[in-house]
């Protein structure tokens, strides 16, 4: 008990220095947490992906479509339960900075394959009945203040012209990993328009989403699907939804890697600051440590004093940092909602923050404690701080 009391008194002896160090620690831990959350947010799409769904796309790349009649042939592959259509629309709502994903889907069964989107049955049937109907996620509806029945104009970049949709359904997320910042509408509506304007582009689809009976057989089923279309005009590439999402992330791998590295650089910098504080503290108190040793305390006790002080500093800073991360993440999440659909501090991040704080304290105390523990009593007493 005496030991803890001594450490506690020591920490707050140089109030200004300790508080500056703690502020530095708090900032570093918050920054680390936010950067880790940014990385997590990038993976949000793949975390939300279902294991029992496959995505088939043109094997050349995602921008090439496939004939929509492939659907029946995919459905005939053993193990396939149902198939739906999903096509990237790439429209702009008022201004490009309002970016959110829009997809043209098969209104009949799309939401059967996505049970994680929850909506009232009457809204779903209203969405199905209206060819110009649209369904949007709760987050998106809240962001733009849309209500059921509102008209939403979208300017097409791939399908040129201004499209107007009527909001018929708003869906909620089943759990926190589900992304609800997107919009779905009828693929038929787009296809009809193409029939009149660009007949060459009609009856084409960007991706098929496939539900399988047995999630453990996805690899075989993917192979069987791709085999159906080998050497055709549009060869397919079928993979699990998760791997499909990871494909996007891997294209940005270097940026994500950079953010990861940077988040550890923050910790490194703060380590320099804390190590500095501990080095100065120990140097100032050399006489004291020599006195303690003269009184009969061993070198281990002196080292433990310095370690205890450094760890206490870093834990206070780390703890405050963790507490501050949550409200700040909320603010960042609101500001950057166009970029990150899900922005949530995970438990792993909190644990890593605390681990980093402890590591900073521990490493910062290494050199000073080693030095102070080894000092000769005579030299220490003679030393002028």
């Amino acid at each position: 008990m005496f030991y803890f009391k001594l450490i506690f008194k020591n920490v707050f002896r140089a109030k200004l220095r300790s508080s500056l160090t703690i502020i530095g620690l708090v900032i570093a831990i918050v920054a680390f947490g936010l950067l880790q959350t940014v990385v997590d947010a990038w993976f949000a799409g793949s975390n939300a992906a279902s294991a029992s769904r496959l995505v088939a796309r043109n094997s050349i790349s995602l921008v090439f479509p496939m004939p929509v009649y492939y659907r029946e042939r995919i459905r005939a592959v053993p193990g396939v339960k149902s198939v739906t259509l999903l096509n990237w629309f790439g429209g702009v709502y008022k201004e490009p900075r309002n970016f959110f994903p829009q997809f043209a889907v098969d209104h009949e069964n799309f939401f059967d394959l996505y049970p994680e989107f929850i909506m009232p049955a009457d809204q779903l049937s209203a969405f199905k009945r209206d060819r110009q109907g649209a369904a949007v996620g709760r987050k998106l509806a809240d962001e733009f203040g849309w209500k059921i029945g509102d008209t939403i104009p979208i300017r097409g970049t791939i399908f040129s012209g201004t499209w107007t949709f009527t909001l018929r359904a708003i869906f909620d997320a089943k759990d926190e990993t589900t992304v609800t910042r997107q919009m779905y509408f009828h693929w038929d509506y787009i296809n009809e328009w193409l029939k009149q304007k660009f007949p060459r582009r009609m009856e084409q689809i960007g991706t098929f989403v496939i539900e399988v009976d047995d999630p453990s057989r996805t690899a075989d089923i993917s192979k069987a699907i791709d085999a159906q279309f080998r050497n055709s005009l549009a060869e397919t590439l079928t993979e699990t939804e998760k791997s499909f999402q990871l494909g996007f992330i891997s294209q940005m791998e270097q940026i994500i890697l950079t953010i990861r590295i940077v988040s550890f650089v923050v910790i490194f910098i703060i380590m320099a600051v804390v190590a500095n504080t501990m080095a100065m503290t120990a140097r100032e108190r050399l006489t004291e440590y020599a006195t303690l040793k003269a009184l009969g305390f061993g070198p281990g006790f002196v080292a433990a004093l310095i370690f205890g002080e450094a760890l206490m500093l870093s834990l206070i800073g780390g703890g405050l940092g963790v507490l501050l991360t949550f409200p700040l993440a909320k603010v960042v999440g609101v500001i950057a909602s166009a970029v990150f659909a899900v922005f949530k501090v995970s438990q792993a991040t909190v644990l890593m923050q605390l681990a980093c704080a402890l590591a900073v304290g521990f490493i910062a105390a290494l050199v000073p404690s080693w030095r102070s523990a080894r000092i000769k009593i005579v030299d220490g007493l003679r030393h002028v701080g």
Binding site: A28, V30, G161, S243
Partner: protein, 388 residues
């Protein structure tokens, strides 16, 4: 009376560990600050270098990228025939009708594909883009299934060495050459004959038409003529601006990240500097008293401590810059969100960035050292002499 510079310098020298740690922290901050600016500068150079001043890109109205666009043969022919379009010695319009597709290639060491721009070009393309030079092998033969690949593709992707074949659109495409596009975005592209690529991909429309103007000033007239003609009605943009717009989101992202990091890091570094200077002041209380008793004035003390802190910042800044300079050999290849394809760019250290970083680190030193210096200057002679 001024305090000799030697005194200030030797103060830092005496406490080497603390000086090193503080300056090291500042160096890291300066490093990150410079690195982000360099990345943005590198991206900017890549995109600006991609466009030429006297070229104009035409794409479909409403489209934002070449990949979203479509231009019929009739429209393309009408654009070519505009009087503002320059003509070559043979009388042909200096225009390239291009078709863009994305193909998926695998980066060396990765198992997932990345989207690569594959550009079908007309024979005139090389005249319009003088920065593109074949460095290995030869240019593709028009009318054949041959392709040439950009420098970054050659370096970072599998299966694109000269003599190897890529298979897409039911054909095998022989790689016959590698080109260097002077660090522009074309370095991350694959080029082939536009007519061959369009046939293979069963396309009837071009993606874009690039023309060279007779003079830089004829831009407005050309764009107006094309927009007003209801048979054409395409959007025209200066090539340089067009490519800058293509990377705007990426550039904004990098700058945003840069500002966020710099602010957080610099606060940490300033706190570090403040701690160092406060302790330096506290330890030298007796010394300060002596200096004052010798006749040095308060302002001299203030300046001496400020200079000490500025020196710390400067040392950190120089060290950070020196490390950042090594980054120039690194090339980053990542997905450009807007064009949905890979784009490679490298760090670029400009004179402006050197100045900005040094200024930034000196300011960090100043802010961190200001309060401690004030504290030192305001000490009472008697008290400080007694403290020692």
């Amino acid at each position: 009376m001024k305090i000799p510079f030697n005194y200030i310098f030797r103060n830092l020298w005496t406490r080497k560990l603390t000086t090193l740690l503080t300056a090291g922290g500042m160096a890291l901050v300066a490093f990150v600050f410079a690195a982000v600016l360099m990345l943005d500068a590198g991206l900017n150079r890549t995109m600006v270098g991609t466009g030429s001043v006297d070229n104009v890109v035409f794409i479909r109205k409403g489209a934002e990228t070449e990949i979203q666009s479509g231009i019929t043969r009739d429209q393309a022919a009408l654009v070519e025939s505009q009087p503002q379009v320059a003509r070559g010695a043979d009388g042909n319009a200096m225009a390239s009708k291009e078709s863009l597709v994305l193909i998926s290639l695998t980066k060396t060491g990765q198992d997932k594909g990345s989207n690569i721009v594959t550009r079908g070009v007309s024979p005139m393309a090389q005249v319009l883009r003088p920065q593109v030079k074949i460095v290995q092998g030869r240019m593709f033969q028009p009318g054949s299934s041959e392709i040439v690949v950009g420098k970054n593709i050659h370096e970072e992707f599998d299966g694109v060495a000269i003599g190897q074949k890529l298979r897409f659109a039911q054909r095998e495409w022989l790689v016959v050459g590698t080109f260097d596009a002077g660090k522009s975005a074309f370095d991350s592209e694959v080029w082939g004959d536009v007519e061959q690529l369009m046939q293979a991909f069963r396309r009837v429309n071009y993606s874009s038409v690039i023309v060279k103007m007779t003079s830089v000033d004829s831009f407005d007239a050309l764009v107006k003529a094309v927009q007003d003609d209801i048979r054409i009605a395409l959007d025209g943009k200066r090539e340089r601006l067009f490519y800058e717009d293509q990377s705007r989101a990426l550039s904004t992202f990098i700058s945003f990240l840069g500002i966020f990091l710099s602010v957080i890091f610099s606060v940490g570094a300033m706190i570090g500097a403040a701690i160092t200077m406060y302790s330096s002041v506290a330890m030298r209380t007796g010394e300060i008293g002596t200096l004052r008793a010798l006749g040095f004035r308060q302002p001299s003390i203030l300046v001496a401590f400020l200079i000490e802190s500025l020196l710390l910042g400067l040392v950190g800044g120089i060290a950070g810059l020196a490390c950042a300079a090594f980054l120039q050999s690194i090339t980053i290849s990542t997905m450009n969100f807007q064009s949905f394809s890979q784009l490679a760019f490298s760090f670029l250290l400009t004179f402006k960035i050197v100045l900005q970083t040094l200024l930034f680190s000196v300011v960090m030193g100043f802010v961190g050292g200001f309060l401690p210096a004030v504290k030192a200057a305001r000490m009472k002679i008697v008290d400080s002499l007694r403290a020692a």
